[in-house]
Symmetry: C2
Subunit: 507 residues, 2 copies
């Protein structure tokens, strides 16, 4: 009996590198799960495996309609000719598109067990987007009922049943739906249906939906995100805690001559130079690709699209390994103005993102602009400083030294020699994002492990600096502060100090 279904080896923000153990080998996450059509697939599954995908998703409902009972004899792995992990959707997508399907959930579940899919999904009733709350509530209730029946009927045969979370933009329902599935014993969950959020560029809603679900999910349960496999959304989906995500876009786009790039989708006719290194883009010039005959052209664009998505996942994985997922997603947000709104979601959910962010990192973190004050690592440092108590009555604040930690800097050593009352003075350095850095703890991560832009920052934008400043001066009893009066950034905060603190110039 497998004890650990999902093993996590590395985390950053709410993202993680993990492995899911299946009847067909271990699947490394985060993973993009390409959609394979059980009948009309034109890119061979062998090619898909070769590009580097170890898990695909296909449709059990269509399989059942086309192969009937023969499918159970053959098994889904032979039908789609793929020997690694297979996930099957049960017809929920068809329900969302056409309203209903003429098959009972129990029959569907029995069929999915029969074809020995690795990841099976009960026949749910997706809420989609834009449903009134009453109707959405009824759909969630129906789905939960089906899920309960399905998991009770399921055999312990190494298959993983995935509980489908519904609720759409009704986040209370999303939370309720999630809790219900966990209680039933689902070891993996899937969140529907973000496609409509994405089509209307409502990335913020999508993020809020993911967070509403994730807040209810224990760490050892992987989360799948339905239909969200575009380079634009993958980094955020992973950063917010999604482990796998499927999409048919590589093929749907290819049929419309649409070429996936890291920053969005382009019409093939708009491409002058391929911004890509993949096998297709090095084999053809854009003109040559445009001139291929239709089916060949579609397949070649689809293969490029698969490479583009795979590359995005690999970049995100490498960013997790490097502890740079925050930097990566904040940069990625500049792919589209509506995606940029995700920066606000990230800064507003610092507490949530803190859980998976390591307390210490090997590498220096990069601090660019105001949003980085909300980086989990930076927030943790603010908390430490907010609890710092000094025994001194005087404080001297300088800007950061380039040598870190600050107590090893020339700047500090010179102070210790020059200041006659050095022993009586609390020395602090400061950084706009990190706030006050008491010299005694200037070696704590990330005080000694960061790079910051030398920009003209507006102190009013640095609300975390202001909070820490306030608490720090309340916690301590300074009667004198020394600082450089030409420092416009610091001046703004010094002004807020009570009058009984003597302000002295120091250069």
């Amino acid at each position: 009996m497998k004890i650990y279904l999902f093993e996590i080896s590395k985390t950053d923000l709410a993202g993680r590198i993990g492995t899911i153990d299946t009847n067909h080998g271990k699947i490394e996450t985060p993973a993009y799960v390409p959609v394979i059509h059980p009948v009309k697939q034109t890119i061979p599954s062998k090619k898909i495996k070769e590009i580097g995908f170890d898990l695909v998703i296909t449709n059990a409902y269509i399989t059942r309609n086309n192969y009937g009972d023969k499918a159970v004899k053959k098994g889904i792995h032979k039908i789609i000719d793929y020997d690694r992990g297979i996930m099957t959707d049960s017809g929920g997508y068809q329900v969302l598109e056409y309203g209903d399907v003429p098959v009972a959930p129990t029959e569907m579940a029995e069929f999915e067990q029969g074809i020995m899919t690795d990841f099976a999904i009960p026949l749910d009733k997706p809420t989609g987007f834009g449903l009134p709350i009453k109707k959405a509530e009824a759909y969630v209730k129906h789905t939960l009922k089906v899920c309960k029946q399905t998991i009770e009927d399921s055999k312990d045969n190494g298959q993983i049943w995935i509980g489908p979370i519904q609720g759409g933009e009704h986040f209370d329902l999303v939370a309720k739906s999630t809790k219900g599935l966990i209680k039933m014993g689902y070891k993996m969950l899937a969140l529907g249906s973000p496609v409509e959020f994405m089509e209307s560029y409502e990335y913020r809603l999508l993020a809020q939906m993911i967070i509403a679900a994730k807040k209810q999910i224990p760490h050892n349960i992987p989360l799948h995100l339905f239909g969200a496999g575009h380079p634009l959304t993958i980094p955020f989906a992973v950063a917010l805690g999604c482990d796998t995500f499927d999409s048919a876009s590589y093929m749907l786009y290819a049929k419309q001559n649409r070429y996936i790039t890291e920053d969005g989708t382009r019409d093939l006719s708009d491409i002058v130079v391929f911004p890509c290194n993949c096998e297709i883009c090095t084999k053809y010039t854009p003109d040559e690709l445009r001139q291929l005959e239709s089916i060949e052209k579609i397949n070649q664009i689809a293969i490029h699209n698969l490479h583009a998505i795979k590359l995005e996942v690999d970049k995100v994985k490498q960013a997790i390994h490097e502890g740079r997922l925050w930097e990566y997603v904040i940069k990625k947000a500049r792919a589209h103005p509506k995606l940029f709104e995700m920066v606000e979601v990230m800064t507003e959910n610092s507490e949530f993102l803190k859980i998976g962010t390591p307390k210490f990192k090997e590498r220096a973190i990069f601090l660019f602009d105001k949003e980085d004050q909300f980086r989990p690592e930076v927030q943790v440092f603010h908390e430490i400083v907010r609890g710092f108590k000094s025994k001194k009555e005087k404080i001297l604040i300088t800007n950061e030294s380039s040598t870190k930690p600050g107590y090893l800097s020339h700047q500090f050593v010179n102070l210790s020699k020059k200041l006659k009352d050095f022993e009586e003075v609390q020395i602090c350095q400061y950084n706009p994002q990190l706030g006050l850095i008491p010299i005694e703890i200037s070696d704590i991560f990330p005080a000694a492990h960061h790079e910051t832009s030398r920009m003209n920052f507006d102190p009013k934008e640095f609300t975390e600096f202001e909070k820490t400043w306030k608490i720090f001066f309340e916690n301590n009893k300074f009667s004198e502060i020394r600082y450089n009066k030409d420092d416009e950034f610091l001046k703004y905060f010094v002004k807020t100090l009570p009058k009984n603190i003597k302000k002295k110039s120091f250069l």
Copy 2:
């Protein structure tokens, strides 16, 4: 006789797509120019051509030392086995490294003519970085003297002589040096020596040096940038008007097991998942590459590095074709905190960047944050509005409609029906970056062609909005303004209006 040496087909910011006509075919710019060692090269020049480079640079001084007069008989194309464009450095790099070389500039020039290089560089005396102004001045003077002699002695044989600009961080000298070379008749220039700027992450100084030179250079003269061929610097170099740039980093880094990525250089030992699609990264896993024997490993990393640099150039080219170079470089700035300081260089040089930015673009531009108010296209629109005169005495300001141009929106059509005094009211929409948009000109680019983030912007950061607002109300004689009093952004500016303008609420 060739009349046009340099043909420009597309521009954006100060960047351009062009072709330089040489004795060995047309070279498309912007182009990265890989350094080929005339003796010790381990990546065959054939492979370099196959990766997609049509122009390489090699060292005439080393060639002369190793081949002597035989080099003239064979010609440089046979020596390095490359049949496309070849540029030769003349030993200036050695002068910078070792102080001097034992060869006279006239001999060097004669040699470069003899080996029939396509782009020849006179034997200059590079200033580098950190020279006192007197010394830098002497170097510039010496270089100008050599350049004058060289071009006077040169034959009209289809070779292109490149004038080396010196001056380093002394921008007046850079400008003087540039003017001198242009006066002598140089048809192509090269700017040295940014390597030291880059080693100390002084990207801002590098940018200022480029701008100091570019401001003196007519458009039809291409500019080469010495030693700056890293994905971090390429987008900015191109955006500021550099057309070609060489570097040996692909090989120098490879020798230290350093792997080039779009966001910087990584030690191969730190790579878990290759964030790249190139032939090397799809052939090996990181572990397999690490285990290759030394020379093979160096060559494979070098080939990856060449692909990574080539990809960056292709992405920049495609961004120029799409009119998205501004978006591309502002995003790229987030690769490193010191590179992020380039955002300030971009916003401070709006006038300079305006020259090459098309007045109209086919695609919508993306507006993300405060820096986009300084985008050339946005600046041009502000200028138009600053000259706008209304005959009306009342003004009504609403936020932007999602339908564009504004006069086609429901919002506007409803206003025209509802407002009893519609004919007497100047209708404006607004956008934080674009400022006021009088409805009559809401179809002008980019008023009708942009996407903006829906963020909580701080009005104080929008100084261009403030300027336009001030001028607009000075130019016109409004006695009444109607606006939504819940609109915090607009409220900030309404407060600045004189008391004799009646403020009325409008929803």
